[in-house]
Every structure is written in structure tokens, then in C-alpha cells.
Amino acid sequence: MIISNKGPTNFAKPQSLSRRLHIDIPLLCALLILIAISFVAVYSASGQNMAVVKAQGMRVIVSFIAMFLIAQIAPSTLRRWAVPLFSLGVLLLIATLLFGHVGKGAQRWLDLGVFKFQTSEAMKIALPISIAHFITRFALPPTLKNVVIGFLIVLVPTLLIAKQPDLGTSILVASAGVFVLFLAGMSWRIILALGVMISGFLPVLWYFLMHEYQRRRVLTFLEPESDPLGAGYQIIQSKIAIGSGGLFGKGWLNGTQSQLDFLPERHTDFIFAVFSEEFGLVGVLGLLTVYLFIIGRGLYIAANAQDAFSRVLAGAITLTFFVYLFVNIGMVAGLLPVVGVPLPLVSYGGTSMVTLMLGFGIIMAIHTHRHFNR
């Protein structure tokens, strides 16, 4: 039978099955709950389309295998791959910009003949590993010089992805890097100064770096009712879906906004609206509890990791997961502009599920590959 991991106090005991498989049972359970929710929501949002559910099932299987495989790799090994991984990632991004496949008005995919590969996804893993590797080579908290170098390392892939343009992914990649620096202990003064710099950078971003469609998205976000049938349609319909769900929701498969096609992108980026409509605020609170548990568990594992690299890496991956969550729900509920960020592990499709599960695989690896000679 499976003996569950009871936390750090029992790490001296003989290895349990979960330890030998490099799996964290509480985290795995929470992830499985999310996946279950995902199936329920995708089935409803796709209009009871079993083909879509099956495709999602395939992705889930692939993602779990990826998680399981990466969990077998010791964090130290991962660290050794940091520099080559990062260099390869940057090269792929440059290649994407030069020869990439254009889809949905952006150049995001690299056609490798057999399959199309969204190169920015790799960066979501490669970047935090690289920054964590770089910053923890030195004693923490990091010096100003190292923080600046760290930021430069973050900036290169972020700008390359933003250029594609893919605002959602570049935000996620950048936040992964910044979280590493934050968790490594960069001083509050730098954080403050950074805040000021970003405020100064915003106009530059707006006028020189953002694409017309991105600017329109932001404007629509600020005033969705100005264009109710055009760009604002999505936000308005999504808010109607959420709001009409009320406290207890309309019931599974009974959401009129989703079942009757009023909600665009409803089984991908806007699946949260479908969920809210059918399960109400009560269901949403349940969903958020699962998410909060995962984040808590991730940070707990991070805090109990054995070395600085593992700590900041696990912490940064966990917090990036939160950014996914926050940006997605924020945009679906009309708090944030619409950027293409899925609801982590619930939205249908995308390479994001594999990347996310790889991240959790790393966290599990950090938790289960331990030295007992402390």
C-alpha cells in the first residue's frame, strides 16, 4: 500500500513508495482535482463534445508523463543543464522570429516538420532555472550587480517573446524571472527603484513596443461597453456569464451563456466564465481553494528545500502558477486586459499544460531528491 509523505519530519525514515517514485502525494491529489474540474468544465464548454474531452485527456496523459519523468531528475542535474537550456531557448526564440510560423497574427510557432512547437513555452521552464542557477552561485541576498545582471538575463527572452507578439507568455516568463530574484532576497530598495522604472517604461511600452491589437485590447479593457459588438463583446459576455451564475450557479450544462454560444473562446481562455456561470460563487470559492492549496504546498516545499537553488526555483515556479491564475481570472472577470493566458490546468489545450506539469515535476523532484546527511 501507499504510505503517504507526512512532511519533512520523516525524511530520515526508509524511503516510502511516493518518495521512491519522486511524487508528492498532496500536490498530486490537488492537481488531479484540478484535472477533474477541467474535464467537467471542458465537457460543458465544448457543448458536450466528447472529441474535445478525449483530446484534453490525451494532453493530460502526456503532461503527467512529462511531470513524472522530470520528477526523476535531481535538481542538481537540472542545474547543470541551465546554461545550455537557456542558450537553446534563446536561439529557438530568435529562430521563431526569423522563420516562425504565423498564426493568429503572431509569429509563435516554429515548424519542426513533424510538429509545430511554441518556443516561448520552453522559456517558461528554462528561464527560472537559469536565473536561479546564476543568482544562487553567490551568497544571498544578491548584490546589486548580480540583480542587474539577473534582470538583463530576464529581459532578453521577455523582449524576444513580446516581439512575436505574445504578451501573455512574455508576462509569465518575465514574472518567473523576477520571482526568482525576489525570492533570492533582492533588497527592497531595488524593488522600489524597479517599480519607479517600470512606471517610467510604461509609456515606452505603449507607444513603441505594443502592437495595435494589444493597445486596442487594453483600451477595450478600460471601457468594454464602448464596443459591445466588437472587441468589448468578449469581456461583456464573459461578465454576463459570471454574473448570471449568481451564488450557486445555473447547474452543470445549464449555463445559457456558454451552452448557447454567446461566450467566445469558452473552452480555452474563458473557461473560468463557464465554470462561474454553472457553479456560481460557491463553485468558484471551491476552485480557488484548490489553487490556493497548490500554491501553499508549492511554497511549503520551497521553504523546506535543502539548498538555495531549489528554494528559489520551486518558489518561482509556484508563484508563476499563481500569475497564470490571477491574470486569467482577472481578465475573464474584467479586472485586467485580455491577454492570452489560460486558466492553469483547467483550460482546454495549449502547450501550457505540459509546461505547467513540468514545473510541478521539478517541484516534486526538489521535494523528493534529498540528501540525508545534513
Binding site: 542538481s76 542545474r79 552561485r137 553567490f138 551568497a139 544571498l140 541576498p141 520571482f179 525576489f182 525570492l183 533570492a184 532576497g185 459576455q237 461578465k239 454576463i240 456569464a241 459570471i242 454574473g243 448570471s244 451564475g245 449568481g246 451564488l247 445559457t256 451563456q257 448557447l260 454560444d261 454567446f262 462561474s276 456560481g280 460563487l281 468558484v284 470559492l285 480557488l288 489553487y291 490556493l292 500554491i295 501553499g296 511554497l299 520551497a302 521553504a303 539548498d307 538555495a308 528554494r311 528559489v312 518558489g315 508563484l319 499563481f322 490571477f326 481570472i329 482577472g330 472577470a333 474584467g334 479586472l335
Partner: protein
């Protein structure tokens, strides 16, 4: 594994504590942000729940109005004059059909499809909203409906839709009474929204254009129903949530008696003219025929330009001659002129003049010829009416003067709208000094008065005005507004709608009515009367007055010879009358353009109508039909 680390000595526990602090801060931050999301979601899902629920329902629920059925129109005996008939059309929903071309080919093997119809169909397929049916062929014949119905099972997405369209079984004979309905045009649409009736007309395609259909549009139309349906974002209907049936329009029972309407129409036989019959006791319009006419059913489906151009011919079939044809009344007003003279004490029952065959004003050279051009000898009021002696009335008119004539004639409704319940009506002209001044900026001449004395000159009247004036005489001065509508049947049951009665004409001496009625009786019943030959042998006693109206002025010494002049310049034949003589039930006016003498041309039509109306008229007055029926029913039990 930490071989690359440059700083050999690191305080791991300090770093661990630093991390824990940072992780805690991050976790608190995460909690705060999640709380923000929850607060926002609470605001949306709980505080604003009502408003978003309303908007969600607004998205999914669509109201589809259902047009009410237009009220059916009956004649006084319950014969259907206007009904709603289903018109079948073949409709396709392109989303339900795999290959439109194959389906259309299949259909064209079953029934005939013109290339025009196919082209129009494929054009509208592109323009149509999704999941809406598109007509491939409209107005299917019964046979075509049968053929398609049998084959529907292997034509998925094809359906036969039935729509109600107005149908007028009596066609042209009633057009000018009933009018017709047609597709609502932009002007009417604007009027509907100006009148705040848009909601009522939301599902309606047709509206009354003229006649009864227009005048009683509000009664006939009814109120729409609706169904509440659930639709998706592309408008496809998933289910019906609620259905409220429409309230059909009221059925109208007209005062028209279709039998005499038909007789009159047949008698006119396409000649230009009109017949109007009224019930003098209540103003009911029993018949109102204008000829030539046209088929109102043409307009229901939208008339072709070619067919419409045909209606713009010289005979003017579009004009309702009964209410808009302004004819010189000629001798048909002599009885009223006589009445005016009696009232003004210019003549008495016994006054007689010597008729030399012409009339000469004192000190004026011009002679006013009598139509007979020969002497009638000694003429009193009876003979003057019976023989229609012009000379007698020249003198009477001259002595009355135009002021008194016009004043008196106004009371009989000349030069005024009769107030009939259709919108198409003309006032025609009852001349007066003021009128001539205003119209021609000329003073009134004595000669004008003389012409007016025999219903000529500037004087014109519509057949309806003439019928009304006769009805007043038949009824000893009681005046009713002519009314086509008799009763309406709606939610509240049958409702009789009586005509307005106006202030009656009260004479200084009631016997004067009898004098002119007697004069009119002699016209019909006394040998030598101008209509004596026509009414000989009738099973009832009637009274009447013939009239022969000159259309063009004639020089005083030229003799009228019908064969020698242009057809359009020949005399108009006129006749007015009523029957039975003692208890009048019908008053009639006949006018036929360029037909010649009124006695020989107009009077026979009046006779034919009276024969039919009085022969079969056994207590079937409107309403009494229903009353007697129910009484009989209860007695039978």
C-alpha cells in the same frame, strides 16, 4: 555539486530564513490578490446578479411576434366578402441541407421551377441569416403542395409554409367598397410608429390601403401574440418557452347586400358609372358600385407594373365614381328645387305656368331651352316633376335666387362630405355667390341661377350625395350619415354600429314632403311619366326622378343629336328613386356617363336593383337575422 560556487562559506540557515520571509510575504501577497478576485467576483455574482441575469436572459430569450389574423368581412346576410386564405410557399433552411444544388434539382424534377426563381433563391441564400428559411417558390398550387408533401420525407430541410393572404371572392364588383390590403410601405410604416402602434404591427406585413380595409384597419387588424424562444448566438431556436396567442381582428358585417351589389355591377356592364343604394331608415349603404372596376386581389400580392399601367386607362377604373365622381345632377334634383319653392312660398301645390318650350328672362334675349323643345302646356308642380319640365324650374330658380337655393341644397348635403365610412370622397360643388367669387373671381349672374335650377351649370354632385338626398325626401327629412359598416364581431360578441343621425330637415309645412313625393310617384307610376315605361309591372310602388345631364354646353339653337357628337360628350344618364312608396326601404341613385337619356338608360338599372332587393327581402335586416335564428333555435328545443 556546488563546485562552481565561488563563495565557499555560506550561511545556509540565514539564507533559508531570508527565503522563508520572502515566501511568506509572497504567500500573503497571493492571498491578498486572491481575496481581491473574490471580492470582485462577489460584486459581480451577488451584488450585480440581477442585472447580469437580466442581460443573460436578454441574450438567450428572443420574442417572436405572431401576427393576428385579419378580421373577415361579411355582407349583411353573412356572405363572405373578404377572407384570409392560406398561400403555400416552398421554403428551405440551407443549414439543414447537405447540398443545396442537389436538393433544388430534386425539387425541380417534381414541380416546375423557373430559372428566375432558382437564381433569386441562391442569391438570398447568401444574404439570409442562418437558420432562417428561404422561399424557393411562392404561391404553390394545390397540386404542387400535394406533390411536394408526398415527397417531403426524402427532402430534409424542405418545408411547405402556409401564410394567410387576403382574398376577395367577389373581385372587381366590390373593390371600391372594400378596398384592399397590400404590403406596408415606408410612409405607412412611419405613420404606424408616429401613432405608437409599432408594437401592434410588429408581425404584420399587410395593411388596408383604401376603402373599408383602410377605414376600419384598427378593428380588422387585431393584436399580435408572441412566442418566447430560447436562441443561441446565431439566432437558432432551441425551444419555445412561452406562447401567447394573438387576438384576431374583429369580423365586420357590412350593410352591403351582395346580391344587389352584383346586380348593379352586372347591369352597368363595364360602362362608366355608379349605383348607390341606401336604406333611408338608417343610412345603411346597401350597394355602392363604381364601374369600371378592377380585381383587388391583384394588389394583395403586389401588382405588376404592366397590370397597373392598364388600370391607368382613360376609363379611370381606379376612381370610386360613387363618392368621387362629380356629375351634374341635372333633373334628379328638381324635387328638391320644388320643395325649396314650396317652402319659400314661391309656388303652391296648385300654382301652374304656361310652358312655351323655352324660358326667357325678362329683358334678356337669350332663350333657355327645355330639353323637350316643345311646349308642355299648362304645368303645375306634379306635371313639372312627372315630365321633368325645365321651363317650370327655370322660373322657380330665377324667383328663388341663388342664395336661397344653395342654402337649401346645403341642408340636403350637396357640396358637403356625406361622412361615409371610407376615406375616398369628394365634396363636389354646390355653387353659391361666394363659391364663384372664390373659384373664378367673377360675380354671380342670373343666368347661372337658371342653369342651377335644372341641376346644371356649376352644380355637381356625387351619386352618393344624390342617393342621400333622395333618402332624406323618402324619410320626410330625417338625415342619416351613409354607413357601410353594420356590425362588428369581436371578443365582446356582435356589436351593432348604427349610423349617425343628423338634425332632420323640418319644413314649415309637413305636407310639402308629400307633394314632392307624389310628384316623384307620378314620374314612375303615371302614364307619361319619364320612368313610367321602365317601372311598368313592378310588384311594388316606387317613386323616382330621371335626369339627363348635358356634359357640354350647347348653343341655344343647336339640337342635341347623340349620333353626331363625340361619345365622351354625350349626355349622362341619371336616375334617383326610392321604394316602396309608402314605407321606403331603399333609396337609389344611378349615374351612367355618356349613356344618353336618364329614363331609358339609368332607370332600368334602378328597376333591376329594386326588383331584386324588394323581391327577396323578407325580414332579413341586419341583426334581425341573428335574432330570429336564435329564437327559432330556442323554439325548436
Amino acid at each position: 555539486m556546488f563546485s562552481k560556487q565561488r563563495t565557499a562559506i555560506r550561511n545556509n540557515s540565514a539564507e533559508s530564513n531570508l527565503f522563508s520571509r520572502r515566501a511568506l510575504i509572497a504567500f500573503v501577497g497571493v492571498c491578498v490578490l486572491i481575496l481581491t478576485l473574490i471580492v470582485n467576483l462577489y460584486h459581480i455574482q451577488v451584488n450585480s446578479f440581477q442585472s447580469y441575469q437580466t442581460r443573460a436572459d436578454g441574450n438567450r430569450i428572443k420574442i417572436i411576434p405572431i401576427a393576428p389574423n385579419r378580421g373577415v368581412i361579411f355582407d349583411r346576410n353573412g356572405v363572405i366578402l373578404a377572407e384570409n386564405k392560406p398561400i403555400h410557399s416552398l421554403e428551405l433552411v440551407s443549414e439543414k441541407i447537405k447540398d443545396l444544388q442537389v436538393t433544388v434539382d430534386k425539387i425541380s424534377r417534381l414541380i416546375e421551377l423557373t430559372t428566375d426563381e432558382k437564381e433569386r433563391f441562391f442569391k438570398s441564400v447568401k444574404a439570409q441569416r442562418r437558420f432562417k428559411s428561404i422561399a424557393l417558390k411562392t404561391r404553390l398550387s394545390t397540386e404542387e403542395v400535394a406533390i411536394i408533401s408526398v415527397n417531403l420525407h426524402h427532402l430534409p430541410g424542405v418545408a411547405i409554409e402556409a401564410r394567410l393572404k387576403r382574398f376577395y371572392p367577389y373581385g372587381a364588383s366590390l373593390t371600391h367598397v372594400l378596398g384592399y390590403v397590400g404590403r406596408i410601405n415606408a410612409r405607412e410604416q412611419k405613420k404606424i410608429s408616429d401613432d405608437h402602434r409599432k408594437a401592434i404591427y410588429i408581425a404584420t406585413r399587410d395593411i388596408g390601403k383604401i376603402g373599408i380595409e383602410k377605414y376600419y384597419e384598427q378593428l380588422l387588424h387585431g393584436n399580435p401574440g408572441y412566442q418566447e424562444v430560447e436562441v443561441n448566438s446565431r439566432g437558432r431556436i432551441f425551444r419555445v418557452l412561452k406562447r401567447v396567442l394573438p387576438e384576431h381582428g374583429q369580423d365586420l358585417y357590412l350593410n352591403i347586400d351582395i346580391r344587389i351589389q352584383q346586380v348593379a355591377y352586372d347591369q352597368l356592364a363595364g360602362r362608366r358609372g355608379s349605383v348607390v343604394a341606401l336604406d333611408p331608415n338608417n343610412g345603411a349603404v346597401l350597394a355602392m358600385v363604381s364601374s369600371p372596376s378592377y380585381d383587388p386581389n391583384l394588389f394583395v400580392h403586389g401588382i405588376s407594373t404592366k397590370a397597373y399601367k392598364k388600370l391607368l386607362s382613360e376609363d379611370k377604373p381606379l376612381i370610386n365614381r360613387s363618392t368621387r365622381g362629380a356629375y351634374p345632377p341635372a333633373s334628379t334634383i328638381k324635387q328638391i328645387m320644388a320643395l325649396a319653392a314650396l317652402e319659400e312660398k314661391i309656388i303652391t301645390e296648385h300654382t301652374s305656368i304656361n310652358d312655351p318650350g323655352y324660358y326667357k328672362l325678362p329683358n334678356v334675349k337669350r332663350k333657355f331651352r327645355d330639353y323637350a323643345s316643345r311646349s308642355h302646356g299648362k304645368v303645375d308642380i306634379y306635371k313639372a316633376l312627372m315630365k321633368s319640365c325645365d321651363t317650370y324650374f327655370y322660373d322657380v330658380a330665377h324667383r328663388l335666387g341663388i342664395n336661397k337655393i344653395s342654402e337649401f341644397m346645403f341642408r340636403f348635403g350637396f357640396g358637403e362630405y356625406t361622412g361615409i365610412d371610407i376615406h375616398e370622397e369628394k365634396k363636389a360643388v354646390m355653387p353659391s355667390r361666394d363659391w364663384k367669387r372664390a373659384r373664378y373671381n367673377q360675380p354671380w349672374h342670373v343666368g347661372d341661377t337658371i342653369n342651377v335650377g335644372i341641376g346644371q351649370g356649376y352644380w355637381t354632385a356625387t351619386p352618393l350625395q344624390l342617393a342621400k338626398s333622395v333618402a332624406i325626401i323618402a324619410n320626410n327629412g330625417k338625415i342619416f350619415t351613409p354607413q357601410i359598416l353594420g356590425a362588428s364581431q369581436g371578443e365582446k360578441g356582435l356589436l351593432q354600429i348604427p349610423a349617425d343621425d343628423n338634425m332632420p330637415i323640418v319644413l314649415s309645412n309637413k305636407h310639402h314632403w308629400r307633394i314632392v313625393q307624389q310628384g316623384m310617384w307620378q314620374v314612375v307610376n303615371q302614364r307619361g311619366g319619364t320612368a313610367y315605361n321602365v317601372f311598368k309591372g313592378a310588384h311594388y310602388q316606387s317613386a323616382g326622378k330621371t335626369g339627363t345631364a348635358q356634359v357640354i354646353g350647347m348653343a341655344e339653337d343647336v339640337k342635341y343629336d347623340a349620333s353626331k357628337i363625340n361619345e365622351r360628350h354625350r349626355d349622362n344618364a341619371m336616375y334617383v328613386g326610392y321604394a316602396p312608396f309608402d314605407n321606403p326601404e331603399i333609396a337609389i341613385a344611378v349615374a351612367i356617363e355618356n349613356a344618353g337619356g336618364g329614363g331609358s338608360n339609368a332607370a332600368p338599372i334602378a328597376r333591376a336593383v329594386l326588383d331584386v332587393y324588394l323581391a327577396k327581402k323578407i325580414g332579413n335586416k341586419l341583426g334581425s337575422t341573428f335574432a330570429t335564428n336564435s329564437q327559432q333555435g330556442s323554439r325548436a328545443q
